[in-house]
């Protein structure tokens, strides 16, 4: 039992990831304002990026740059000493994609505002049902 507790406490990054993901999901579902929904979507995305970067992190390891590899000689490298760079590279793409989705979502929100003159979801729904 103590081992499980120690394991759960030492993985605090994942607890923060779960909390942030639920905060983002709450923002997307429960908030009425469209801009608030978009903020919730972005929080959700950064939470997933936090999860992936936490997978790659190691204790007592440095950043994945090999210092002696410039002159073509052979060097022995221990993978234990370096943080895993594969999740970082995947998440670079995810950050760029998240900014693109943010731009498209805000452009759509501006179009909706021009059409219905409001950003609240329930007002848009009531205007739609009146038509």
């Amino acid at each position: 039992m103590e081992e499980i507790t120690a394991l759960l406490v030492s993985r605090y990054n994942y607890w923060a990831f779960i909390v942030l993901m639920m905060v983002g999901l709450y923002g997307m579902i429960a908030k009425n304002n469209l801009v608030k929904k978009i903020i919730g979507m972005n929080i959700f995305q950064t939470a997933i990026i936090l999860f992936y970067v936490s997978i790659g992190a190691k204790k007592d390891a440095t950043i994945p740059i090999i210092e002696h590899g410039h002159h073509g000689e052979e060097v022995v490298i221990k993978a234990v000493d370096y943080i895993n760079p594969l999740p970082h590279v995947l998440m670079l793409t995810a950050i760029v994609v998240s900014v693109a989705t943010l731009g498209v979502a805000l452009a759509l929100a501006i179009r909706v505002y021009r059409q219905y003159n409001t950003l609240e979801e329930n007002e848009i729904k009531s205007q739609l049902s009146e038509e």
């Binding site: 605090y12 990054n13 923060a16 909390v19 942030l20 905060v23 983002g24 709450y26 923002g27 908030k31 009425n32 304002n33 801009v35 608030k36 903020i39 919730g40 972005n42 929080i43 950064t46 990026i49 936090l50 970067v53 936490s54 790659g56 992190a57 204790k59 390891a61 440095t62 950043i63 994945p64 943080i83 999740p87 970082h88 590279v89 998440m91 670079l92 950050i95 760029v96 998240s98 900014v99 943010l102 731009g103 805000l106 929100a109 501006i110 505002y113 409001t118 950003l119 609240e120």
Partner: protein, 81 residues
């Protein structure tokens, strides 16, 4: 990774995230979201993901805030929830 720094920054991140969703002023929400992104960037620099950290600092904390402020400027500043 120093765990004290980690825990402090993670709490601040969660507080900023909840605050960005709770504030009724949308400009305030955009600024809180930019603080959230910047704290996230600090977290990634601590975890050794420097490339992700500086991409997030420029793109997440910089460009998204500009986009949010521009969108709020085109629409309405007050939110009802």
């Amino acid at each position: 990774m120093v765990w004290q720094f980690d825990v402090i920054i993670l709490t601040l991140v969660i507080v900023c995230g909840i605050g960005a969703l709770a504030v009724k002023d949308l400009i305030g929400a955009a600024i809180l979201f930019s603080a959230y992104s910047f704290l996230m960037c600090l977290l990634w620099a601590i975890m050794g993901a420097v490339d992700v950290a500086f991409t997030e600092a420029s793109v997440g904390a910089g460009v998204s805030t500009v986009l949010f402020v521009a969108a709020v400027f085109q629409t309405r500043r007050r939110s009802k929830d």
